[in-house]
């Protein structure tokens, strides 16, 4: 136990001291903070009150007056000016070219239908027709037409009543909540588990190639080395995830207007129970993939072989991820049960199912023991292969010799 703590402690210290770790963490945190600040940054660069886009509304047929449409200049980025003058096409063009106005909106009536021509120098990327103006036109036009028809206030209110729309699902375990949160969680879980686990393989191969192994295995047992490393890298990974999550939450609360996050994500499903379940599945998933990577890492003799040796594990992880993704997209499919209990996919799939409320208790109590049994089996195989393969400095060990080692009684 003392040795296990020593190996884990050394692994943690070395991991967090690495320049690559510090730089990548700083970049990720900077991206998060920057991401939540995009609305503020946009506001800084966008036009302020005095620099609103100047729009000239040309209403030579007095259509607006006739329909009692009022143009409101407040709460908009456009500064509207209405003229009743009958301007020619060239005159309109001139006003824009002389920068007198940024754009012109020509209102006309063709066969009892209001026609709007939006004249602008060029439609640049991101620039669109002022939608609030068009919407305002549309609403006010409808209102004035209704008024013309002589409807009472009650009749009008009845026409514009908002509908209270609710979805009621008949299946007790049917998916609820925001699919956006689930998708985000699925991606975060996959990358966190996959990249943390991958580091175990890199760490073992680095030790093999630096020939430190022989000193190491005469100082402590191979089991302690594999488990110590796995725990150490896992703690660093978890720490990374926590730092990223805390930064994201703090940034959202600090930089975004209150309530804006709730408008995008449905946070009602983020319960303490869900957080605990996610942590459990993250740790179990990490241990399973990390021990698989320990196995492939110890079979490799040279750093250039690491990629090819790790490919089978990467394929398993991707299959696991897609199974969970498919399960999320098709909540009623039968493949869900398989994805929920199959150990390569359950660490990605179960937190999502719990989040959207479609997970059954039976799936939780089945998937966790299956994962634990799977981890124990993989740990046994990995430690045995590691013990035999660590002094192999020659060529990459193939699957046949790995199976032979596992079957042998020695080591």
């Amino acid at each position: 136990m003392k040795d296990l703590i020593t190996v884990a402690e050394f692994t943690i210290k070395e991991a967090i001291k690495r320049k690559s770790f510090i730089i990548s963490m700083l970049i990720i945190l900077a991206i998060i903070i920057l991401g939540f600040n995009i609305p503020n940054i946009v506001n800084i660069f966008s036009n302020d009150e005095d620099e609103k886009t100047k729009v000239l509304i040309i209403d030579s047929e007095n259509i607006l007056g006739e329909t009692q449409i009022r143009i409101d200049n407040t709460n908009t980025n456009y500064d509207y000016t209405i003229t009743k003058e009958n301007l020619s096409e060239n005159q309109v063009k001139e006003k824009i070219e002389n920068k007198e106005y940024d754009s012109c909106l020509v209102v006309s009536k063709v066969e009892n239908q209001i026609k709007l021509d939006y004249v602008v120098e060029s439609i640049m990327m991101g620039e669109t027709i002022p939608e609030d103006l068009i919407e305002s036109f549309s609403v006010q036009y409808t209102a004035s037409q209704i008024k013309k028809a002589g409807l009472t206030q009650e009749q009008l209110q009845a026409m514009f009543t908002d509908f209270d729309v609710n979805v009621i699902q008949t299946d007790e375990n049917a998916a609820k909540g925001n699919v956006l949160v689930a998708m985000l969680l699925s991606i975060v879980l996959f990358y966190a588990i996959y990249f943390c686990a991958y580091q175990v393989s890199t760490s073992i191969t680095t030790e093999k190639t630096s020939k430190i192994m022989e000193t190491l295995v005469t100082s402590t047992s191979p089991k302690t080395i594999v488990l110590g490393k796995t725990i150490g890298i896992g703690i660093v990974g978890l720490l990374q995830v926590i730092i990223i999550a805390v930064t994201a939450i703090l940034s959202a609360n600090t930089f975004l207007p209150a309530g804006s996050l709730e408008g995008i994500f449905d946070m009602s499903s983020i319960t303490p129970l869900f957080c605990i379940a996610t942590l459990v599945y993250f740790l179990l998933g990490y241990f399973m993939y990390a021990l698989l990577y320990a196995l492939t890492g110890s079979m490799v003799a040279k750093p250039e072989d690491i990629q090819s040796a790790n490919t089978p594990v990467a394929i398993l992880a991707v299959i696991g991820f897609y199974l969970s993704y498919f399960s999320m997209m098709n909540p009623a499919s039968n493949i869900n049960l398989f994805a929920a209990v199959f150990p390569i996919s359950s660490p990605f799939c179960m937190p999502l199912r719990i989040l959207v409320g479609s997970a059954k208790m039976s799936e939780v109590v089945t998937s966790i023991p299956i994962l634990i049994i799977c981890i124990l089996v993989i740990a046994k195989v990995s430690i045995k292969i590691y013990s035999s393969a660590i002094l192999n400095y020659g060529t990459k060990m193939n699957l046949k010799s790995a199976i032979k080692i596992f079957k042998s009684k020695e080591n």
């Binding site: 210290k13 070395e14 690495r18 630096s210 430190i212 000193t215 005469t218 400095y393 020695e410």
Partner: protein, 297 residues
């Protein structure tokens, strides 16, 4: 008391790396495990330390099976390894803690050994900034800093310059004076000849010679005479039907088969009024015994 290797065998795929070897290290001092490249020295050491499992035989330390828990041993492997990016003090502390020392003990011992091997200035440097020889000295510290009773040094002098070699030899002699059991593996005979009491010579996994070094050497008759003379004596030597193995300036190394040949030559030189500055009867060196034995096998 000591290390006993009994009828140990190890076979890798279709190759017998160690074939039924036995020897005993019963008293403190340096025991030499010698052999050509690929003779089975490192495999024997790895089995002694429990890194490799033996196929047959028994390896015990004071009657108990050798493993990390039962024996406090130190090991300098042939494959030199070090964490290149990690500070010297940090990696030595890591290994010291794995060897059961607490942090304070570890730091005290590390500082003593760095001072002893004149390496204090490298204490807080990453290992990759050290020369190969200095990295090797750091590995030597890893092997001895926890004050082990059994120390196994696999090719300790390979890659060291003469100054560092002498420094390491001095430390080994100091460890011998502290009654440590040291197993030294090498294929450089002259470097171990000056410390070792007992030797085992392996060739292709088999023991071809073992015993006390002095006894082995004494069992070999004188086979050379070294004569230093200002006179030219080549002709006189040839007249006695002897072969000059080497001539450098006025020093002649002459091969003989028995002592009477040496006596006859001496009488002849005196008779011819040759001025002799040095006349020495020489027994074969460990190197020569090794080459002869390996040649026989």
């Amino acid at each position: 008391m000591g290390l006993t290797i009994e009828n140990v065998t190890k076979t890798f795929i279709n190759k017998k790396a160690v074939d039924n070897i036995s020897f005993e290290i019963s008293k403190p001092g340096v025991f030499a495990l010698l052999g050509t490249n690929g003779a089975g020295k490192t495999t024997t050491i790895r089995m002694m330390l429990g890194i490799l499992k033996k196929d047959t035989g028994k390896i015990t330390w004071n009657g108990k099976n050798v493993d990390r828990k039962s024996v406090n041993f130190g090991y300098l492997p042939e494959e030199r390894g070090i964490y290149p990016k990690v500070k010297i003090v940090d990696q030595l502390t890591y290994f010291a803690k794995l060897k059961g020392m607490n942090k304070d003990e570890a730091i005290k011992s590390i500082d003593y050994w760095l001072e002893r091997l004149k390496m204090t200035e490298y204490r807080n440097m990453p290992a990759e900034k050290l020369s190969k020889g200095n990295q090797q000295k750091i590995q030597f510290i890893t092997a001895v800093m926890h004050d082990p009773e059994l120390i196994i040094l696999d090719e300790p002098f390979s890659g060291l310059d003469p100054v560092n070699t002498d420094q390491l030899k001095e430390v080994i002699l100091e460890l011998v004076s502290k009654e440590k059991y040291i197993v030294m593996s090498s294929h450089q005979m002259n470097s171990v000849e000056e410390f070792c009491d007992d030797v085992v010579i392996l060739n292709k996994g088999k023991t071809i010679l073992k015993g006390n070094l002095n006894e082995i050497k004494n069992s070999y008759p004188v086979n050379k005479i070294i004569i230093e003379s200002k006179n030219e004596i080549s002709k006189l030597i040839e007249e006695e039907s002897l072969t000059i193995k080497n001539q450098k300036d006025k020093t002649y190394t002459i091969l003989i088969e028995n002592k009477s040949q040496a006596q006859k030559l001496l009488e002849k030189l005196v008779k011819n009024n040759i001025e002799i500055e040095k006349y020495e009867l020489v027994k074969p060196t460990l190197h020569e015994i090794f080459v002869e034995k390996v040649g026989e096998n």
